[in-house]
């Protein structure tokens, strides 16, 4: 595993993955969006409003997946001082915050017509809002110190502390009574009929591939920025 900590090695793999993930993302959205928004059947109770689910569920899923990537990378950074791991976390954070925001906003738009309210303070909604705040706090903390190293470490510790929230979000609908419904994607499969499950899975694949592509592009920029920083530092040291 440690050989992937080498930035050159890592970027070689990432560059090989990029065209594939981009192709999968484009294909999934080209096929999935019309299926989800036009051709899938309306729900027996929700009618056309069910279509919000095809954006909401993948966004919710990704907001948790990206957080787990950030927490795992932060642990690797704190324990082994792997710079690439830290840069993966750094590159992922705005994406995770965006997924959490899309999840919250699409959920509110669904809640108003279905539940009769935009927002309630139940365990699921509250814990996802906290996830969004942790993302924002993480991004803010990264560059909050004059010494970048300290900011990186503080943010990584925050990411690890915040990982406590991930199981809480996932199990909130089982541990407590909530207004939010139970999980659609479970170990036993989906609680959806086939016509609805297919577009949903395609959208989940699309969101995941989209994240992989964007995070690789952002990671390349972060690596270049780190190189420039190092070059500046050695120049300043030489003078």
């Amino acid at each position: 595993m440690h050989k992937y900590a080498n930035p050159t090695q890592f970027i070689r793999i990432a560059n090989a993955v990029l065209p594939w993930s981009t192709a999968i993302a484009v294909a999934a959205f080209v096929i999935g969006l019309p299926l989800a928004l036009v051709f899938s059947p309306p729900d027996y109770q929700q009618g056309e409003t069910v279509r919000i689910m095809y954006v909401h569920v993948p966004a919710a899923w990704m907001s948790l997946m990206v957080y787990m990537v950030i927490a795992g990378s932060s642990a690797a950074f704190l324990i082994w001082r792997h710079t690439v791991a830290h840069l993966i976390a750094r590159a992922s954070a705005p994406l995770g915050a965006m997924f959490a925001a899309v999840c919250l906003i699409s959920g509110m738009l669904w809640g108003q017509p279905m539940w009769g309210t935009f927002w309630v303070w139940d365990a699921r909604l509250t814990s996802v809002l906290i996830l969004f705040f942790i993302y924002i706090g993480y991004i803010a903390l990264l560059d909050a110190f004059d010494d970048p190293e300290r900011g990186d470490r503080a943010a990584a510790i925050l990411a690890l502390v915040g990982s406590v929230n991930v199981p809480i979000i996932h199990f909130s609908v089982e541990w407590w009574s909530t207004l939010h419904q139970g999980t659609i994607i479970t170990m036993d499969g989906l609680t959806l009929s086939g016509d609805m499950a297919r577009p949903l899975l395609i959208m989940v694949a699309g969101f995941t591939a989209f994240y992989v592509s964007v995070v690789i592009i952002r990671l390349r920029a972060e690596l270049l920025a780190a190189k420039i920083r190092n070059a500046r530092q050695s120049l300043a040291a030489a003078e």
Partner: protein, 156 residues
């Protein structure tokens, strides 16, 4: 790699694992202690067990019993059940679209001295079973309909 740096890495790993374990158990204790504040609603059975103080605002959640909805003027009366206990609810206001008999709902309000729950807000709860109308109809026809979903129209 020298033995010294190795041990430093191990120490950091132990620190991270220990920290997460402590944090996790701390969070578990807090959440368990706060359970009553975190649950969004109580079932009719839980409300009856609890001997609420007069005028205490709570949320009541359960299924709207079949055939229990009556409307008089702007006021709707219905019975909320968890299939064990029942509580009558009275509500004046606009109901959400998904409100119907057999549907899960959450009502916020106070339990009156007469045992009737005076709701100030009624929300519809939706479950995680999504399906097109034809599938729902087929399930009803085959008798595979599950409790909690909208009930079969012709059950006694």
């Amino acid at each position: 790699m020298t033995a010294k740096t190795m041990s430093r890495k191990n120490r950091r790993m132990i620190l991270v694992v220990l920290g997460l374990a402590l944090l996790g158990s701390g969070a578990a204790l807090v959440l368990t202690a706060m359970n009553d504040a975190i649950v969004f609603f109580f079932s009719p059975s839980e409300i009856k067990e609890r001997n609420l103080a007069a005028d205490q605002r709570v949320r009541l959640g359960g299924l709207v019993e079949d055939g229990s909805v009556t409307k008089a003027g702007g006021t709707v009366s219905f019975i909320v059940t968890d299939t064990v206990e029942k509580i009558s609810v009275s509500y004046t206001g606009v109901l959400p679209d998904l409100f119907r008999e057999g549907q899960g709902i959450v009502a916020e309000g106070r339990l009156g001295p007469d045992g009737v729950f005076q709701a100030s807000e009624v929300l519809a709860k939706h479950d995680e079973n999504y399906m097109p109308r034809e599938v729902a109809d087929a399930l009803k026809k085959n008798g595979h309909w599950q409790p909690g979903m909208e009930p079969v129209a012709d059950t006694p």
